[in-house]
Amino acid sequence: MSVLVDEETRVVVQGITGGEGKFHTEQMMEYGTNVVAGAVPGKGGQEVAGVPVYDTVEQAAREEDADASVVFVPPAFAGDALFEALDAPLDLVVAITEGIPTQDMARVNRQLRETDTYLVGPNCPGLITPGEAKLGILPGNIFSSGNVGLVSRSGTLTYQVVDNLTKRDLGQTTAIGIGGDPIIGTGFVDALELFEADPDTHAVVMCGEIGGEDEEEAARYIAEYMDTPVAGFIAGRTAPPGKRMGHAGAIVSGSGTGTAESKIKALENAGVPVGDTPEQVADHVEDLL
């Protein structure tokens, strides 16, 4: 089993006619993802990578029975594309786009709370159920099927951790990159809930980083509601206050909130072993299984 996506998921790619959209559509299809349509205003009637393009997401969803989308739309138009996807409606929307204005995301987030859609991202690598489907830009070859769920705020860090897992034959149910922006759709707690409810996920790896309080909130959720064991990793122990470390969300505030220390402590208090290195995370997962 898996969470959010599997081989049945019918995917529409928003922005399929752009360079990135086209390239990753091909990559996704090569991996086995069931991409059924593209959606680009004004490009309806065309074909990209063998799938039909529609002018609106609603048309694509209606005509091709799509239930998920992956968004490669440029940041200036991405907020509108997300509203369109929520309104189609779709069950899952994966926003790869980096650099969406924060106020646009606050509005999208407001609308999201009135829907039953899962939004993953933005500014994320997407998610993958190894051997079934990937929605996004993750390199499929490093993943393997198994019983570890993974949720992470960072893209390449996810790859690093997955690589360590896969090399020890610790395969994954689903790996979700939730994105590094200050305002994202699916957060740690949402993902942990999904993994907790999935009988095939026997352990979860949670990769957090400095900034915000999502990891602390996740720790409270784990302590209170989770039976599935969790191992953790937190990036940014050496980040100075007030500096943005690449991700718009990765910033330790001047008043000292959002530090790695506070997150690690919260997780450890919730019984979550936190690795000092990605290798140690794999050690912990082996112990937990």
Partner: protein, 383 residues
Amino acid sequence: MRLHEYQAKEVFADAGIPTPAAELAASVDDAVAAAEAIGYPVAVKAQVHVGGRGKAGGIELAESESEVREVADDILGMDLKGYTVERVLVEEAVDFVNELYVGVTMDRGEGKPVAMVSTRGGVNIEEVAEEDPEAIAREHIDPAFGMHPYQARRAVYEAGVDRDIANSVARVLQTLYQVWEDRDGSDAEINPLMVTADDEIVAADAVLNVDDDALFRQPEMAEYDEEGEFSEDELERKADEYGFDYVRLSGNVGIIGNGAGLVMTTLDLVDYYGGEPANFLDVGGGAKAERISNALDMVFSDENVDAVVFNIFGGITRGDEVARGINEALEQFDEIPKPVVVRLAGTNAEEGMEILNADLVTVEQTLEDAVQRAVGYAEEVDQ
């Protein structure tokens, strides 16, 4: 992107928030002329992007021409926390009886804007927030509707602002929110909002930070950015030009990687294995040869750096392209300036490893080994 005080005040004043009479000056003579036009006393305020200017000597009062001449001369050209002061704002000194705080920012946790009011203005509001959170009234704003007028009033009354000035303060807060929304602000702040003896209110300082990701639709704000800083750290300015996410730190191990989380992890591992990171440098996704070369240039230009670790986990980024970029960059040197340890994983990593010129770099298979090797090199150089 952070506006200077004088720029933020321009924006606030245009929106209808009262600000003191003021003029920008780049020389002592200009400062004196400005003060003469405005009338004494004036405040002479360094226009640099650092907090706590007052305590650091960047803001002085002057009661006369000679005093203006003296303080402007002191402040212009001074080094304020690493920034050279090239311009001062000469401003009418407001005779106040009270100092308030009003601000708007994005509450990440809630995913919503939040407006704040406090009667404890004129001091570091983050300290107030820690010592006495109750002293700041907060209103979360629904981003679909924007700020309702009753919310501005409620925050003002909740903060305990005098009823005589409550409506004026509520209007300022409402306007500040509108500016924040219209200008794609990340933070907007007036601290202090001064209250005079006859119940006038005046924005004596002004902060407006704009969401970098929204500058494409804020051409006026982007123009302000052009007038921006004159004397940033040279390396950080270079990073801006190259379009890197870069943060300079104090250690001696230079770090280059792709992806914020992985680069942060590399820094953490340098620290874990006993080294000290010299920087955070993220080349981003899908980096091609030129970017790789620029990244190496950045790190080599940092005289603190004694060794470099180059850590790539390819997703969109291809190991073979990175390897070619590294070779190209290093082949220009007769002698490699600092030892470089490279670790490639993910997309086309094997091809990359083969391409890498082993005479120029040290290749490692795992992140842990690469970091330890670089820390070792740095220690050797350091001795």
